[in-house]
Structures are given as C-alpha cells and as structure tokens.
Symmetry: C3
Subunit: 342 residues, 3 copies
C-alpha cells in the first residue's frame, strides 16, 4: 500500500526525451512522454487496443502512438485516432498529473483531480543561482521505507561509508529528533573534530584549509511521502558551526527523493545541492562521482537487509534513539495511509 495522493519524483528530465519512458511508480505502470511543446504527460502503459505497452511507441503531433498498430493516445488517456478506426467508444486508460519543476519530473500516482502543483515543496536550492546541483538515479531492490530509515539515521556512515564521510565521532555525538506536523527533523552536531575525506575535499575546493579542526553538522528532514533532505556541512571550528558565515564553511544539502516502485523496490534519486562555488561544473561532476560511489555502498546492505526481513517476517526490529528519525517518519506515513483509506 502506498501514499498515492502525493507528489513523487518520477524521472530526471533527460530520461524523457525523444522516446517515451516506461516506469512503474507506487505499483502503477506508467509511460511518460513529451508533447509538442515539451510538456510531459503520463498515462498507463497499456494500449486499450491489444494491451501492448505504449512505452514501445513514439510521439507524433502531441500524441503517443502505439508502436504495435498505431493507436494514438492523448494525455487524458483517451484514444484520439487510429488508422481506419472510429475511436470514440474505445475504453480509456488512466492518466496521471505530471509537473516538471526544480529539475525533476514529478508525478501524482493517485487521483488526478486532487493533484495540486502547489503541494510540491519549494526547493530553494533548485532555483537560487547561489546553489549548484548534481545527482543521479539508482534502482534499489528494497522497500522504500528502508531507505528512509537509512537516511534518517546517519550513524551508518561510520560503518558503510568509512572511507569517505564516515567517522567515529558520528557514533559518539548525541542525536536529537523532533516532529513538527508532518515534518521530522533529526540533528547531530559534532564540534571540534577532523573533517573526513569528503569534507576535506569540499573545504579545499572552497579555498579553505582542509586539515584544521572543524565543526560538522547533519540535519535530516523527512517530508511525506518519502523525501529526505539533509543539511550537511563543516565550518572551521569556533565560528558558529551551522550558523557560521559562508566564508568559513562548506555546506550542502543531500537530496534524496525515494520513489516506491513495488513493495520491495524503489527508485532512488540522489544528489547534492551545494552552497559554494556553484559555477564550478567540474566540481559538480566530481562531487556527483564521489556521491554515486557512496550511495552504491548502501545498496548491497539495503537489498540484503530486505532479503533478511522477507526471510524472518515475524521478527520485530529495535527502535533505538538513533532510529527515532525513521520511526517517526514511518509513523507519519502510516497515519497518512490510514487517512487516505478512511
């Protein structure tokens, strides 16, 4: 069961170009395509004629044409024409609300009429030229909520990402979680430490000494249905940490849009929005490469964790203080699911 009355990141813009894109989101098998003006539409990936996937077709004159026998589908899910046929009585297929915004294609897998674009959270880093963004997409074979847990408890960095962003002090620093409406915030502050390799690189790229004592922070934000945005950064020690002036820090937002595919798989849109040297495209590429490696380290752990949970379905997992971010996020998902059904 998924929160279908919500906006999810469905694709990166360049995934939907000349050819339609078939993708399953929240159990809904969809096809995304661009119409004449470049606007993206999504309908079920099922031709009402013989059931062929429309994603094997092509776009012509604003219509999605089935690659099997030429039925032309409109963005409302109604057949528009077909050679030699009257299509008026043809059964319709579902269509989905789609928005392209902030460098992503968003979809609302639920009722189209409830899809209010204003419900997409404002993403300042995506529109403000002081920020630069780079990211990628992984398909991960586990329940999307295991990824939320993963990102709302960064103690795993010490173990899974020991060579890049992990460090012993993460384990040692206390973590605090609070809930504000549907918003969960888990924070950890590590003052007076050595920056780990990734952050030393970031300081260096930002023309700051990399090897001096720093204050480090991680502030994870969960928003339904499944977005996790993490404010991260380091500042030269003693200047206020998170609140230090830009001139002595390197700060970023780790961007995680976690879009369910099936009950045991999801699309993981990962990236980093950084608040320094935004014009440096080489730096963007370099960070993306590093981050891609880091997030691929999570994959095996999460996929094998999923297999273990399927094997031992009755075992209760622990909910420690470090797990509070994930626990609270799931609680919100569960409440919204109950409301959605009710």
């Amino acid at each position: 069961m998924f929160l279908k009355q919500a906006w999810y990141v469905a694709a990166m813009p360049d995934e939907v170009a000349e050819k339609p894109l078939g993708r399953t989101i929240c159990g809904e098998k969809m096809v995304f395509y661009r119409g004449k003006g470049g606007q993206v539409a999504a309908v079920e990936d099922f031709c009402p004629h013989r059931g062929a996937p429309l994603s094997l077709g092509y776009v012509e004159d604003d219509k999605l044409v089935c690659g099997y026998h030429g039925l032309a589908m409109g963005c409302e899910g109604k057949a528009l024409d077909m050679p030699g046929q009257r299509v008026k009585g043809f059964p319709s297929i579902k269509s989905y609300a789609v928005e392209e915004r902030y460098g992503f294609i968003w979809v609302w897998p639920g009722d189209k009429e409830k899809a209010d674009p204003a419900l997409i959270h404002h993403l300042e880093w995506a529109v403000n030229p002081e920020w630069a963004y780079g990211g990628g997409l992984y398909h991960i074979s586990c329940d999307y909520r295991l990824m939320i847990d993963n990102l709302m408890d960064l103690t795993h960095e010490t173990y899974v990402h020991a060579g890049s962003i992990g460090q012993k002090e993460i384990d040692e620093a206390p973590v605090s979680t609070k809930v504000e409406g549907d918003h969960v915030i888990t924070s950890r502050f590590m003052d007076g430490i050595q920056a780990p390799p990734f952050w030393q690189m970031a300081l260096r790229m930002n023309d700051l000494a990399p090897d001096v004592t720093v204050d480090r922070w991680q502030i994870c934000h969960f928003h339904p249905p499944s977005h996790v945005l993490i404010e991260v950064g380091v500042a030269h020690a003693g200047h206020g940490g998170y609140d230090a002036p830009d001139s002595v820090k390197a700060s970023s937002i780790v961007v995680d849009f976690i879009t369910p595919e099936t009950e045991t798989s999801h699309w993981y849109f990962w990236g980093m929005a950084r608040h320094f040297k935004p014009q440096d495209t080489e730096l963007t590429a370099r960070i993306r490469d590093g981050q891609g490696k880091i997030f691929s380290e999570d994959r095996e752990m999460l996929e094998q964790q999923q297999q273990n949970l399927l094997r031992w379905p009755d075992r209760q997992l622990l909910k420690l203080n470090i797990d509070a971010g994930g626990v609270q996020s799931r609680r919100i998902i569960d409440r919204l699911l109950a409301e959605q059904v009710g």
Copy 2:
C-alpha cells in the same frame, strides 16, 4: 490447455542429429532422437529408473540410452535393456507420434493412436522445385495465440517493421476476413503503390524494375492448431496483381509454424518460401537474414504485451475489424478445445 490432438512442428531436421534433443511442446517434456535408419522418435524426457532426462543420453543401436545409468529406452517408451537388470516390469513412459516431412519434424503431443500422418497439411512449396525455402527458429516468451493475432493482422507491419516491409498503405487498405470451416483467410490488396524496401529488393533479385508502381497483396491463412501461412507479393501495376503472370511479379509464402511450449511461451518456426529464382541459394540466405531481423522486431513487442496481459488479467481487449483474423482463429481453437475435452 492445448490442442494436443494435432500435428505441430517440433524441430528442424538438423536439430536432431547425433545428440538427442530435449524440447517441451504443449506442456509435454519430450526428447527427440534418430534411430539407426535415421527415423526420428520422441518419448517423454524422463528415465523410469531415477528420473534423469533422457535427452542427456545418447543413441546406440537404435535405442536411446540414459546417460546416467545406461537404461536403454525404445521408441515405444518401453525400457529395452539395462546392464545387469531385467527390465520387463519397468514402468513405461509416454511415446509420441513423429513424422519428418516437408523439411520439418512434426509431433502429435496427444494420443499416439489418433495421430494420422495424412492430417499433416500438404505443403506444395516444400516439394515443388519451383519453390525455395529458408527459415529459422525463435523461442518467444508469450502465449502462442498472441503470435497468431500478430500474423493474422499485418497492420502492425507499418509500425513494427517500418524499415523493411511496413508502409502507410497497409493501414489505409481495407482488410477482409472470411472463415471456411476451420480455415481463416484475411486478405488485403494495395494497388498502385511504391514497394517497400524488402519488396524492392525482391523485384530486383527477380530481374524486375524495383521502383515502378506495383500492386501488393497479403493473404493470411490460419489452419489449426496454430499454423499461419501468408501469401505475399508485388506485381508491376496493372497486370492483375495477385493473378499477374510470374514474369511481372515476385511472390512468396511467409511460413509460420507456432508451437506452444507453455501457456506463456512458444517455439516460433518462421521462414519464407519463394516462387522465384529457387536455385539462388545466396538469395535464400539473404532473405532469411532479412526476415530474421524483421521477426526479431516482433519479439520485444509480443513479450511485453504478454507481461501487460499478466499484469491486467481482467482487461478486455478490443476486437476491431483488423483483429478479425485473430479473433476468428481463436474461435476455432476454442471450439476444437471444447470438442477435444467433450
């Protein structure tokens, strides 16, 4: 459920040579092998001793010897001997009626005693030296009836095979379907058109101008259980089209023997029998290569259509006029299935 009381193409002759061939047909797991005189036999692919597949064995002195412990099986499914054993009381396995004819190995998956070789349709092109044949075999992961639908409605050529045999005029020409007993015929005639690339090549190879206006025809014949033979060709325009003299046309029969493996997979024996330049073996190879590419274009569409139908089992597909060939063919299959059971 399959029409088991019928002849199917099981293999091409060179597939059953030195080594036995294991193949599942209509859900029956069989092993084919050649006896001393070269004649082909088929029995269940199961050794009554310990259940090993006989297809891993070898042929010796007209017997199929199990490669595990040496049980020698006869073509009637009775164990003939085994080192150090009396085999009289051994349980038998099923044997199947097999015929090698017209360049194919045919099998009757049902009751052997009902298998009358006279029921194999006469194939003139296979025995008349004025014709040449070339073809191949694909394993396709979809219900064999989706392939029948595909071949009884050639409007898909416009979309799936746009670069070779498809052309807009196929869509535009009316199609007519008639049923004569268990024989379904779907015809389409396109007069005064430009030949598509494949047929331009065929005209050229037949020493005819390729780029003049032609009349083109497609006459699809379905015969139970699942054979589709399609008369196809082009003639220089104005000479009578299908009835034009051989000197102004290039004509062929597209040969499709569609043999079920499981409910969602089949063996697709495809080929072309041509009625021009039969001695030109290079041309045979060239046509086979071209046709092999064309039929591989259908594969992805059919296999993904199958996946869609499994995902949405309750959706009714449309039965348009262009679908009449497939609809009528399935009606015959359903009637024969009901008779078979009753």
Copy 3:
C-alpha cells in the same frame, strides 16, 4: 526437513579468514567468523538491531561487528555492545556449535547443547602423514539425497565419467550392499581388468606399471547425516586386490561431505585422500583438477534430474539392486528424522 542434530561440514578453513562468511545450512542462514584466537564461531546472519546480515560486517576484538550501525555480536548470539547504546535488553539470535577439525569447519545446525564434538567421525586420512588430501567445493542445485544416491551407486561412472574413471566392467560386476547400524556399505570388486585413464595415471605416479591387468575395488560408506566416503583403488592383478600390499597398488578414499542448503540445493565438499606419495603436492593438485572435472560432469545430470522430479512429483522411481546403497541410506535418514521429531 533436515537432520539438524548432526555435524555437517560447513566450510573449508580458508573460506573463513579476514571476512565473515554467510552460508545457509539445513535452511539455517548463518554467518561464520574467526575470533581473536582464530577459533571459528557461527550465529544467525541477522542483526537484532535492524535485520541487516552480519556477514556484511567485520570482526574486531573477538566480536562480529554489524556493518550497518556497529552492533557488536558475541559468539553466543548476544549483543555485546553498540556505540551509545545499552545492549542488555536486546533480543538474542541463535548461535551454533562449530568445530574446526580434520581440515574442515563443522557445524551442528540443531540445538547447541546437544552438539558433542566426539560425534564427529574419526578421519584417519586427515591426521595420518601417510595420507594426502586435496579437494574443493561445489554448489549444486538439487536435493542432497540425490547426491547420496549418486555416490552410493557408482554404475553411473560408466556413463557420466566415461573418459576418466568409467568402464564397462563396473556395469558388469555384481554389487553388494549391507547395513551395519547406521552405516551402509556398498561394494563392487572388478578383478582382472584394464585400469581406466584416471587409475593408469595413479599407478604411473606411484611408480607402478599402468597398463597391466589390475584388480579394482569400490567400497562406498554412508554415514549419517550425509557423508559418503568411498574406498577406491587398483592393485596389480593376483596380489589380493583390496588386501594387496601397498607396493603393488594405488588406493585412495573419495571424500564426499554433502551438506544441505535448502530442500533443493546443497554444498558439495568433494576431495580425495590418497595413500601413496603423500608428499607430492604437484600430484595433489593434479588429482584435484582431474576430480574437479569429473564431479562437474555429475552436476548437470543431478540438477536436471531434480527439475524432472519437481515436474513429475508423483512418479515413483525404481529401486534396483544397484540403487540399494541409496535406498538404505535414505531409510536411515528417514528413521533418524522420525526419531528427531518424536
């Protein structure tokens, strides 16, 4: 259902070195690791914190540390510590009795308190310097009992291993099976024959004429739960065969530890202990290579036999005289299983 109250070979010593080893045995998903002193321990491959597999972790200070969030597990299945946490109330996981002996790591998948190391059979060849051992491990996708059948009836050598150890005389020589308590012995003696290629090589390596007439023997011993040890060898003819003095024979023990993974897969630890030229490590390597090839010939047969048995679950297999070794071995397994449950 498996005989869990028994010792099985779980791994070869070098499989459990720096990194923990995840392996499923008798349906139990375990992780093996070496503590500070080098001793091997095994616990369930499931971290009680969030269900991650402990086999993705590492060993530190005698503890198995989870690679996700750092929970440190002890060899009794109790969490020992975790950064920032009190672990006293954490749920335990199962731990297993493990012994390293005779060049193998042994595990008792059942109740740890019943695991008496004295129940591991004495293996003289593993401790006596007059013997040398070499072997390997295969994962085979079939019921472990099919492998027991295979090894307790060596008539298959004639067919499956025709190029190495098979020969017609195996089929022709009578076989005798006897049961002594839980010990099944199947013997075959072939006197006055030519040695097959493998044994000619063995004679040559042992400085004996390879091409003279020999007496050959095969004495298969089954011990529960699933160990098959086969005394094999050849002696120059007329010196007493099996009882001939060492100076005129080459003799070995084929070692087969067959460890169930799931109902339809097992770990096959194969090898040969030889009683000649024990210091010749090149010979050890050469025999291992040859044996590895021979046992890989069994794999396809066994895996396809398994598929056939799954396809025809109701068919009874024959129990001929040659099958008596397997039949008696399974009878002992069935009796012990019944006792285990009762």
